[in-house]
C-alpha cells in the first residue's frame, strides 16, 4: 500500500508544480496548496504507515499496547498544516491586493519592482 501512496504523492507534487508554473496568480495559489499537501503526505509516508492505531496511550497504562503510528512525523505535519494555511492566506491577500492595484493576475504584467526597460546605471563617479 506504501507504493500506491507514493504514486499518489507523485501526482500531488506533479500537479502542484504544474500549477505553480502557470502565469495566473490564483492558479499558483492552488498549486501552492496542493504542493504543500503533497509534501505533508510525503513526510507522513516516509515515517511509515500504520493502519488506524493513533499514537495515543490508553488511560491507565504507561506504554501503548502493540504497534502504534509514528507520532513524530505527525507532530511535524500538524504545525506544517497550520503554518501552510497562514502562508496560503497571506499569499491570497497579497494576490488580491496585487490584482486590485495592478488590475492583473498575470505574472508577466507585474513588473513594478523590476521594470522591463530599466535604464543602465550611470557611467560616472
Amino acid at each position: 500500500m506504501d507504493y500506491v501512496l507514493a504514486a499518489l504523492i507523485g501526482c500531488f507534487i506533479a500537479l502542484g508544480v504544474y500549477l505553480l508554473l502557470s502565469r495566473s496568480v490564483i492558479r499558483m495559489l492552488l498549486g501552492m496548496t496542493i504542493f504543500g499537501n503533497g509534501v505533508n503526505l510525503l513526510i507522513f509516508t516516509a515515517g511509515r504507515l500504520t493502519r488506524e492505531v493513533a499514537p495515543i496511550i490508553p488511560s491507565g497504562l504507561d506504554q501503548p499496547e502493540g504497534v502504534i503510528a509514528n507520532p513524530l512525523p505527525q507532530a511535524l505535519i500538524l504545525t506544517a498544516i497550520v503554518i501552510g494555511f497562514a502562508m496560503f492566506s497571506f499569499l491570497l491577500v497579497l494576490a488580491f491586493r496585487a490584482y486590485q492595484s495592478l488590475d492583473a493576475d498575470d505574472t508577466d504584467t507585474m513588473r513594478v519592482a523590476e521594470p522591463v526597460d530599466e535604464p543602465n546605471p550611470p557611467l560616472s563617479y
Binding site: A54, I56, S59, V82, F85, S89, V93, Q100
Partner: protein, 141 residues
C-alpha cells in the same frame, strides 16, 4: 448566503463550536485534540458568525480585537516556558500541579498553559484574517 435560516441558526452553531473548541483544546493532552485544532474550530466559528451577522457585528461580539488575542497567546506561551526558570530548571521545563477537588483531580500544568497560548494564537490570527477578508466585502477595485 444571508438567508434567514442561516442567520437564525448561526449563533447557535457558533456557540456550540466555541464550547467544543475549548473542550478539544483542553482534552488535547490525552486524547485527539489540542491548541491547533481547537483554535481552528473557534476561528471557523467566528468566520461563520462574521458571514451571518456581518464582520463588524462579529468584532463587537468578540469585544477584543482578534490580533490582540493572538498577541496575548504568544505572550502566554512564552510565559509558560519562563515559569520553569523560577524552579531553577531550563527554559520550558514543564511543571505539574494536581489539584484535589473532592472526587476528581484537576491537573494544572505549564504545557496546558502553553497549549492555551497556541489556541489563542491560532484562533486570533485566523479569525482576524477571516473577518478582515469578509470586512472587505462590497469594495470592488
Amino acid at each position: 448566503m444571508n438567508t434567514i435560516i442561516f442567520r437564525t441558526i448561526a449563533p447557535l452553531i457558533v456557540a456550540i463550536m466555541l464550547v467544543f473548541s475549548v473542550y478539544v483544546c483542553l482534552r488535547g493532552h490525552n486524547e485527539p485534540g489540542g491548541g491547533f485544532i481547537g483554535g481552528l474550530i473557534a476561528a471557523s466559528a467566528i468566520a461563520i458568525l462574521g458571514t451571518a451577522i456581518g464582520p463588524a457585528a462579529a468584532r463587537r461580539a468578540l469585544h477584543i480585537d482578534p490580533m490582540n488575542i493572538a498577541g496575548f497567546g504568544v505572550f502566554m506561551a512564552a510565559f509558560s516556558g519562563l515559569l520553569s526558570l523560577f524552579t531553577g530548571s531550563p527554559f520550558m521545563t514543564s511543571i505539574w500541579l494536581y489539584l484535589n477537588l473532592g472526587d476528581t483531580t484537576v491537573p494544572l500544568s505549564t504545557p496546558m498553559v502553553f497549549d492555551i497560548g497556541v489556541f489563542l494564537v491560532v484562533f486570533g490570527t485566523i479569525a482576524a484574517i477571516a473577518l478582515g477578508l469578509e470586512g472587505d466585502g462590497g469594495e470592488r477595485s
